[in-house]
Symmetry: C2
Subunit: 297 residues, 2 copies
């Protein structure tokens, strides 16, 4: 039941979606007992019947009361609300509390206001799948993927070591940074691309309303650039709404870059345009060669 | 040697890259004789040795003099220059002249100024590959893909029928439209996405200069959105430079759409944001279900 010294008596996963279900599966061998908390009875039923968790409840208090590790695998704003309202009083002292939210500042702030004695730390595993829901749970979802850890006012040195043990157990790669830095990085690599994809598809759809040939002729370039708009809207809207500040900065920088390219293009300065495009192409190729083959979402 | 009545005595392909080489291979069974024109001796050598063409030359006049079908498979600005300078006087009367350029207005204009008797029509096959060059030639490159045909002042009804025969022979799907409409459609589905991808990568690279974690954490969303920046810069710069007017219109529309999304986001109007994202997501899914599985570039 233990490996590398990491051991959990009772693990409670709050939110049995793709991320939470996969976390339960990945920690199966490290936990004596796994409890799932989810409002949906069909989700709880599926998770228990398929051995993802040992038992399940819709009662947060009951679910976390005996846990020594609690993972909050709910959307960012649900996590923030849970942290603000009740969960602090339900937890035993020294419980390790970690979340999997895609933005960190609001969550880290809320964790900092938990009762002293709760060992709270922010987490963001950089992984995912096209499919969501407990049925898509996968014990290997986190393997080899970056897992960001953000300290909080409730994180002691012991908290950090336990969180590193957990990340190690699921075979992810821990990366420690503060919440502000994290939120700016994900605004850059994830939220900016999503919003650009959405604005592009809106533009293309507007043209397609006037001319059917637009849809007919759209091909691989459009396919790649539009894929992110297929994301779950509730999830993405939850994410971007909790990171507006960093996103606004990135959008301003993007607009500047686009204006530069347009100026060269309209000015028919081909040499200057090519000179601007070369480092962009190099940056992409460099990233792809070093990191690009690894991500799945 | 014939099929469906379409038959070529001498086919000349000017420019033995991926597109030209694939055209020669796809028309192999319809042409008694195929000549390739290319400035590179190694390309000519490869094309002859691999049976892509029967013979090859670097002399445009010699290459096209006896042809009854000439395919211009060079970059847009090279095609425009060829049309403006010499080729008209080299061609026999009633030769079918078609190009494969990615933008059509400049080429159609130049074709309209060719000597009367040349049967000139614009073409744009909507296909491609990651790899380029004569070595990547593929007899099935055009199969099942849209092939836009644009009339010119030198296109007679017979020109149109011959061009449709050619498109049919390579098993592509003919779509007839005027040059202006074509250029606006490709600005929408191809040039806009490319410029957005480039401006996005420039923005991300700027952030990565300040923080290494940007490259480390970038994942599948960034990968898709950045892929187009890996395109050949000379080719893309040639394409966008010959379509600045349509691109400027599309960029203005895109900026409007992005500003709308940002306004909802910053205003924290979640309901409005979700209401705006839903039709975008629907449009993407609708396109993907109907057309999305087919394109290769």
């Amino acid at each position: 039941m233990t490996s590398g010294g990491f051991h959990i008596r009772q693990l409670t996963v709050v939110g049995l979606g793709l991320m939470g279900g996969s976390m339960a599966l990945a920690l199966r061998d490290y936990a004596d007992n796994i409890c799932g908390v989810d409002p949906s009875s069909s989700t709880r039923c599926y998770a228990v019947e398929n051995g993802i968790v040992d038992h399940a409840t819709d009662d947060l208090k009951e679910g976390v009361a005996e846990a020594d590790v609690v993972i909050l695998a709910a959307p960012v704003r649900v996590v923030v609300e849970m942290l603000g309202r009740r969960i602090g009083s339900y937890l035993r002292s020294n419980t390790l509390l970690i979340d999997l939210g895609s933005t960190k500042r609001d969550i880290i702030d809320a964790m900092g206001r938990l009762p002293i004695g709760v060992q709270a730390i922010g987490g963001h595993p950089m992984t995912g799948k096209e499919r969501s829901g407990v049925e898509a749970s996968d014990a290997n979802l986190y393997e080899g993927r970056p897992f960001v850890l953000c300290e909080t006012r409730r994180a002691t040195p012991a908290t950090r070591l336990r969180a590193l043990g957990l990340v190690n157990a699921i075979r992810a790669l821990p990366i420690e940074m503060d919440a502000e830095r994290h939120d700016r990085v994900v605004a850059t690599i994830s939220h900016l691309p999503y919003l650009l994809s959405a604005a592009m598809v809106a533009t293309v759809a507007e043209e397609a309303d006037k001319d059917d040939a637009v849809w007919q002729l759209a091909s691989g370039g459009f396919r790649d650039m539009s894929r992110l708009t297929g994301s779950n809207i509730q999830m993405m809207s939850d994410i971007v709404s909790t990171n507006t500040q960093a996103i606004a900065v990135l959008l301003a920088q993007f607009r500047m870059q686009l204006a530069l390219l347009e100026k060269m293009l309209i000015g028919r300065d081909d040499k200057e345009l090519a000179d601007a495009l070369h480092p962009v192409r190099e940056a992409r190729l460099h990233w792809f060669d070093n990191y690009g083959g690894k991500g799945n979402l």
